[in-house]
């Protein structure tokens, strides 16, 4: 049994993680949250208490920490007696937080791949550039590190594993589809940190097809989908974390990621990108001020956390997995549908933050009870998905399956 959780970060996903940890503090023990700005942590704890989210009396305390500083994170872990770290801070802090976990023996869980602020879209497989270089160190120290444990990456990795294990002898393709059919009512907004959101789309789109990395540009490949609940939707092949681990674990399959975009999003993105306003490289104004365009764009866009109160509609995220069973072609769509308004009512966040924030708490609970505490570094498809699905059915993100036998809850397959 590992207890006592430290949440790193205080953004929209951290808010969901905090609420879900509070709702399950009988399993998780003392709760702490730390970011550079302690006031943001305090505001999250306040919202937890406003919703009376703590399942039982217990600790939930805020701390200031620079998560780029491994020593500072290590000291905080030691001071607090933390056994599980849920890192939902900026993707720039993964490696420093992981280092602190390796030193202290605390379990590490994150939801997005490490990024170097100065680089966009490094060579595939992305995990190989940073995280996997510490795999041996984790194993040697007996440290559990679960990488990419949000929804996508995260649940979609588990969906792939489940589909292959349950329905196939051989897998031929894994297509991950992420559709947000919600409406936030603003002229334009990203659903999470604009800086991270746009960084996903300004580089090369890597997919794994025919046993090799393929390169495309963003919005070059589009495909029409007809999905449960959200209906007909257009999605574009995009670069995404989970492609890089699934390709390693299922090298025989084509692995692609598809993100839904409306024409309006694409138009705004295209204008900003063509003008150079999504660049992470500083430019000099006529007045001699050095400005990173992307950081200004982030400053003028709505704070994604402010979207939640008026967000309506649903998300559908799932995996279309194709393969063969007993020599016959089979295909199955494993998915979840989440509702923006339900998410807001429960934890004060919109649906995108909700889908990203609930799975890492489920992972933490499975680490706490030992199920997922395997003492090494793992991507989510390397874990048995069934305990995860069972838990998430109860705490907010039920898994469904659609194939030629119909559309039903996963456990009724």
């Amino acid at each position: 049994m590992k207890r006592n959780v430290l949440i790193i970060g205080a953004g929209g996903v951290a808010q969901v993680v905090a609420h879900k940890c509070a709702q399950n503090n009988d399993v998780l023990g003392d709760l702490h949250i730390a970011s550079r700005t302690v006031a943001k942590c305090e505001a999250i704890i306040e919202s937890v208490h406003e919703k009376s989210a703590m399942k039982q009396d217990g600790v939930f305390a805020a701390h200031a920490v620079d998560a780029m500083d491994s020593d500072a994170v290590e000291a905080l872990i030691n001071t607090l007696g933390t056994r599980i770290v849920i890192n939902v801070g900026s993707p720039f802090v993964n490696m420093s937080v992981l280092e602190a976990c390796i030193r202290t023996g605390a379990a590490y869980i994150d939801t997005a791949i490490h990024e170097d602020p100065a680089k966009i879209c490094e060579t595939p497989p992305w995990y190989g550039n940073y995280e996997w270089k510490r795999r041996a160190d984790c194993a040697q120290a007996g440290v559990t590190a679960i990488l990419g444990a949000g929804f996508d990456p995260g649940m979609v990795n588990a969906f792939a594993r489940y589909a292959v294990d349950t329905f196939m002898d051989d897998v031929k393709s894994i297509d991950i589809v992420d559709i947000n059919a919600g409406d936030h009512g603003k002229y334009f907004s990203t659903n999470f940190d604009p800086e991270i959101n746009f960084r996903e789309f300004t580089g090369t789109v890597y997919s794994w097809q025919d046993g090799a990395w393929q390169e495309n540009k963003m919005f070059e490949k589009r495909r029409e989908w007809d999905l449960p609940v959200v209906g007909k939707q257009t999605a574009y092949m995009s670069g995404h974390d989970e492609v890089h681990s699934l390709a390693a674990n299922y090298p025989q399959a084509d692995v692609r990621f598809w993100m839904g975009f409306g024409e309006h999003y694409i138009n705004v993105f295209t204008v900003l990108q063509n003008l150079g306003l999504l660049s992470e490289q500083p430019v000099l104004t006529a007045e001699g001020l050095e400005v990173v365009p992307l950081k200004l764009v982030k400053a003028v866009l709505p704070d994604p956390s402010t979207l939640a109160p008026n967000y309506t509609g649903k998300t559908c995220i799932g995996d279309l997995v194709k393969g063969t069973k007993d020599g016959k072609d089979v295909e199955v769509f494993v998915y979840n549908v989440a509702d923006h308004k339900d998410a807001y009512n429960e934890v004060g966040s919109q649906g995108i933050s909700y889908t990203a924030g609930v799975p890492p708490v489920a992972m933490a609970m499975l680490v706490a009870d030992g199920t997922y505490d395997l003492g090494t570094m793992l991507n989510v498809e390397e874990l048995d998905p069934k305990p995860l699905f069972t838990l998430l059915d109860k705490i907010g993100l039920p898994t469904r399956v659609k194939d030629h036998n119909g559309d039903r809850e996963w456990h009724k397959v």
Copy 2:
């Protein structure tokens, strides 16, 4: 006779003014050019010598000056013996340069209305907020100040005066149309300083109709035009300087300004404006940096002066003037067509800079020979247009007239 010219500013229009002054230095005497950055002045003088543009041997010297500082401009005028100042610097420096002219007795010529950097689109008539407040001072000091002496404002004011004087007993409407049918080959660029360009379109669109100021939004009113050379074009009612003086001089007429825009320009503008990226008010980034969005947009867009070498196509700018003559309705279109490539070949600039930069030099020549040296403040429609047209026929911007009697040079009417 007034001789010796000081050009204030070193942008794209200043380049044209410098070349045209050089081509006519027999009339204009010693030439000087001053801006904050002396190197930009030196580069312009170098380009003048590269083209061997000086009509006769003479002075052309570069100076550094902060044109916001009246004392510094006054001292420079006195040191150089300047009798005519052509102000083509930023519209923020008009009033300080005019002040220096009033103190020294030098004639003052500018091409755009004064603007306060912190304000966009003040109440009409715009000239009443700054320039006209100094009219009595100019008259008392016997200082000639010709306001808005570029193309639009400038030549289009003269076109209106000419049309009314020549063809009508009463004027009913003056519609100024500015079409740039050129192609610069870039994804997006403004044709002059983006900061000034966008500031024109982010505020209220003022027009003078039915004897009163009317307010619209940008891109709210569109009209199709079929013009000489450039053909069918769409233009949108826009705010512009000359509406504010023509409405005072022809209060009985409706006065509107129409600017041509392609769908692509409007789309980019709309995205930038809706995101708040055209704001002149600073925003704070997550890193605590204070940035004026419009200044960053300016920094990422192409420098308009770099467009010139590859700019092709033509501009058509003119006035459709309607009225009555001997009790019958009459209408006439007075206009000029300019060619981007011709402008580049002659003075190293694109056509938009050329049309803005040639008229103030013509005005300076008419001040130099006494024709326009009237010792008071004037908008261009308050001057006899014929000497101006005659001179511009020779030095690069011929005026044409189109009405029911055909399309011909103005002097063949």
